[in-house]
Every structure is written in C-alpha cells, then in structure tokens.
C-alpha cells in the first residue's frame, strides 16, 4: 500500500497549466436556457481529465467551447496562453465515430488536417510522420488500405493518428470508443493511455462510462444539469500505468461508487 502511494505521487498531474477555463458560461435563447454556468477548469501538461454527467449537463457544450467550435457567452478560455477564438491546430479532436473519408486511404486520412491547413505539398511532407504514428498505434502495413477494409478499432486508431498529426497541445475526446464493443473498447482505452504517456499528451475525455473515466483519468470532472455546472472534481489516485486488472481492486470500486453516488444526487433535482 505504501509503495502504491509513492507511485501515485509520480503519476499525479504536476505539469504546468496548458488549458485554462475561468467562469465559462453559455446561455441560449436570450439567456433563458443556461447550458453552462461558471465553469472553472485547469488541464495540466501530461494529465488526463475526464468529464462525466447525465445528458443535459452541458458536457458537449463545454467540449465544443474548448474546441473553439462555439464561443462562450461569458468567461475566459485560454490554451497555451492564447485565448481560444476559433478552431486551432494545437487542438486535436476525436469523435464517437472514426469519421474517416472512404475515398482516401488510411494515411491520406491521417494527413488530411495538414492538407487542409497547409496544402497538398505539406501533406506529402507529413507522410513520414504519419508512418511513424501508424507504427505507434499498431497500424503498420495498413497505410494504403481504404477505411472500408478497416475494423472499428483500426478505424479509431487511424483517427487517433489524424488527431496527433498536427501535434496538438490538448486532445479533446468525445466518447471516442463508445461505438466499439466492450472488449475492443477496453483494449483501445489501454492503447490510448499508452499513447498519451508516450506523447506526454494532455487529454480531456467526455464519457458516459464511470469505469472508463476512472481507469483513464487523473481527475474526473463531475457535472450536473439544469444549469450545467461542475459539481465536483474527483482525483483518482490509482498508480500509473493503469491496467485492466485494476478495475477489480477495491480502490477502483470505491471511486466508481463515490462518483455514482454523486451523479445520482444530481438526478434528484
């Protein structure tokens, strides 16, 4: 137990703040609908943060604001000391669906963000980096395969590479593996953890699964609806690297149970 605690210290998020949100609010329909109320959030370098909450708690609104897809009504959104006022190349994003384009090969899909931002020659130059990334996620040899021929897990691995190709400072993950079956999902979560550690990535995950949030995260943001707000930030002191076996430990069960209770409280309102 003592050795566990020691490792915990090493794995805890101690990096410098990368992404900071101060009093971020979002209202719709002339301030009648409050989607998000005064959210404060700090993502530290190399940390993994999850956000969990029932539908309507504003987590997708929060994610869209952090991605620069929609502006907040109030508050400050700052990534790497620069205010976020639109989509940026240092923001990487991944969705529930792999969203690969079937007329492009896997590697062409991966360099697409470069092609859009810097043009075709730059995309060609990025091919070498794409090859490296594909090797990291275990897709070596599938460079010139069309998405039709990829399994769901392989498609999501490809979209991980596409997210990483621009070397983003923050990874925004919108339930990335929820369309996969449970076995592939567990496997992909472990892959994701490994990739994040290797790249020292700062990740922000939206999920419906408490287990998934606990096994992956350093911090879990629990959100509650009407109005959407942060009710609590739970620290997860499980050692890193996490393994699937940890899901059977009492510590894991305790945290899951605690978050479930917090979420149930929100339902009473």
């Amino acid at each position: 137990m003592t050795s566990l605690m020691a490792e915990t210290k090493v794995g805890a998020p101690l990096g410098a703040p990368v992404y900071e949100l101060n009093r971020v609010s979002k209202t719709y329909a002339h301030n009648l609908v409050v989607a998000l109320k005064e959210v404060d959030l700090t993502l530290r370098k190399g940390s993994f943060t999850s956000v969990i909450g029932s539908s309507g708690c504003g987590k997708s609104t929060l994610l869209k604001i952090m991605a620069g897809l929609i502006p907040p009504t109030k508050g400050r959104v700052v990534l790497q000391d620069k205010p976020v006022t639109g989509p940026r190349r240092d923001i990487g994003m991944m969705f529930q669906q792999a969203t690969l384009f079937p007329w492009k090969t896997a590697i062409e899909n991966i360099v697409l963000p470069i092609e859009i931002r810097d043009g075709k020659p730059a995309a060609k130059a990025a091919m070498a980096k794409a090859h490296e990334l594909m090797e990291i996620v275990g897709l070596k040899g599938f460079e010139h395969v069309y998405p039709n021929e990829l399994s769901g897990g392989m498609a999501q691995r490809t979209s991980i590479c596409r997210m990483l190709i621009t070397e983003p400072a923050v990874l925004l993950l919108d339930e990335p593996f929820s369309a996969l079956d449970e076995l592939s999902r567990d496997m992909m979560n472990m892959e994701l953890q490994r990739i994040c550690r290797e790249q020292d990535a700062t990740a922000f995950l939206v999920t419906h699964s408490i287990q998934e949030a606990v096994i992956l995260s350093d911090e879990i943001v629990v959100m509650k609806p009407r109005p959407g707000r942060v009710s609590e930030i739970v620290k997860v002191d499980l050692p890193r690297p996490r393994t699937l076996e940890m899901m059977t430990t009492p510590e894991f069960g305790e945290i899951v149970e605690y978050i479930r209770t917090q979420l149930d409280k929100g339902e009473d309102m």
Partner: protein
Amino acid sequence: MTDLSNNASSSNSNDTLEDTVWVQEIAFIDSVPRWIAMTFVFVVFIGIWQFVTAFGFVSPIILPTPLETFQDMIFVGTNLVTGGYMLTALWITILEVIYGFALAIAIGFSLGVLVGETAFGEKAVMPYLVAIDTMPKVAFAPLFVAWLGFGIESKVALAAFIATFPIVVGTAAGLHAADENARMLFKTMGASRMQTLIKMKLPSGLPQIFTGLKIGAVGVMAGAITGEFLGGGKGFGELIRVAASQLNTPRVFSLILYLSLVGLALYLLVQFTQRKVVFWHAERVGSYDG
C-alpha cells in the same frame, strides 16, 4: 458454473442418442441462376406474344408477330450497320441526347450546388424548382419549337429540361449527405467553405449525385424523342412517327428496340463512371441508388 459442467457430462453419456439433423428448406427461386430466370420470363413473354398474334386474337396491324418484328429488326440493323439513312437519323438523335445531357449536367449541377450549399438557394430558389418540377415538362415542347425552331436545338432544350431536375435534386441531396461529425471535423481543421465543399461535401454526396445522373440519363432520351415527335426534324423519333403513321408496326417496334439500346448505353456509361469514381461505395444490384 456447475450447470455448465453438468450439461457437458450428460451430453457425453448420451452418445447413443440420435443427432438432431434437419433439412432447412430453401425457396426454389434462390437455387436458380439469374440468367435462367430471366430467359424463362423472356420465353414466356414471346410465347404469349406469338399465341395472341398467330391465332388472330389481335390484328397484325396492331401487333405484329414476334417473327415479323425480328425480321424487321434485322432489316433495320442492316441499314444501321451499312450506314443507311437510319444511321443518319440515329446519329442526330444521339447528338441531341449527348448535348441535352451535357447541358442538363452543367445546369443541374450548378443549380444543385446553389440550392444545396447556400441558404439563399435553399430558401429562395428551391421552391421555384419544385414548382417547375411538378409541371408536365413535355408540355413545354411547343414553346421550345417556337423559340428554337425545328432543328436539333429545340430537342436538345427539351431533353435537357427534363434531365436537369433529377440532377439538381441529386446534387442538393448529396451535399446534405455528409454527417454532422464530418462537418465538425472539417471545422476543427479550420477548413474554408470552399475546402469543405470540394474535399468533403461533394465527394460524400457522389452516390446521390450519380443517382440523379442516372435518372437524368433516362429522362434525356424521353425528352429527345418527345421533342422529335412534337417538333419534327430528321431524327430517329421522326422515323418512328412516320412508320406509325404508315401502320408499319413491326418497324415501330424494331426502331424502339434499337433506340432503347442507345438509352441503355448511356445509362451503363453513367454506371461505369460511377463505379470508377465512387469506388468506395458498394452498389446493390438492380437499384437506382448505389
């Protein structure tokens, strides 16, 4: 767990019991190759045709026998192959179809992008297109003749007019086909509107666009022939009209058959192009859309 092991041991001790093997019924038609089924329908069709004509149920002026029709097809075929007057007429009709289709693609695609991509087009232009589309378009034929004369221009105009709308609808629908995630992804990549259109919306919409092109390809033939019926000229439709007025029904039939080959060729050309361009989209057999 104990249940499972019990089952396993009991099945071992029951080796003497008979296997429960049973025959799954398969519908007869599933065991017949397509070409045999098609030949069957063809033979039945010709048989009925032969029966009603040979035994005098139908006057030969109204419906010739299959044999007479076949003989006339050989005559027309010979004329076409040897470069006779029928080939000249057919070539005129083919030109009308090609020009009409090209015009329909140009106009239909442009209008489709206007309606499918811009809010203005969707709000202000689409209602008018729907209104015109519901009109019986052949009724415009006399107008086209009055405006463009008895040459091929009036036929090209009618053919294009009929074929344009399915292409507009296909293009507009295609531009809406891309899913929300793809749009969001392009936004996060900071794509311009033009990049989003060219690199995402148009390729995503190609299956629908080709559906529009295929329906248009069928319409363009109908337009060209109707134009010739109503506006004269020297095309294949004129040959049909003359043969019909002479009560030469075998000729009418064989001309229609050769004409349908042109229509089929155009349709197959579009389909071939679709398979090459939209290689990622699996197409179901015998369906309009891919």
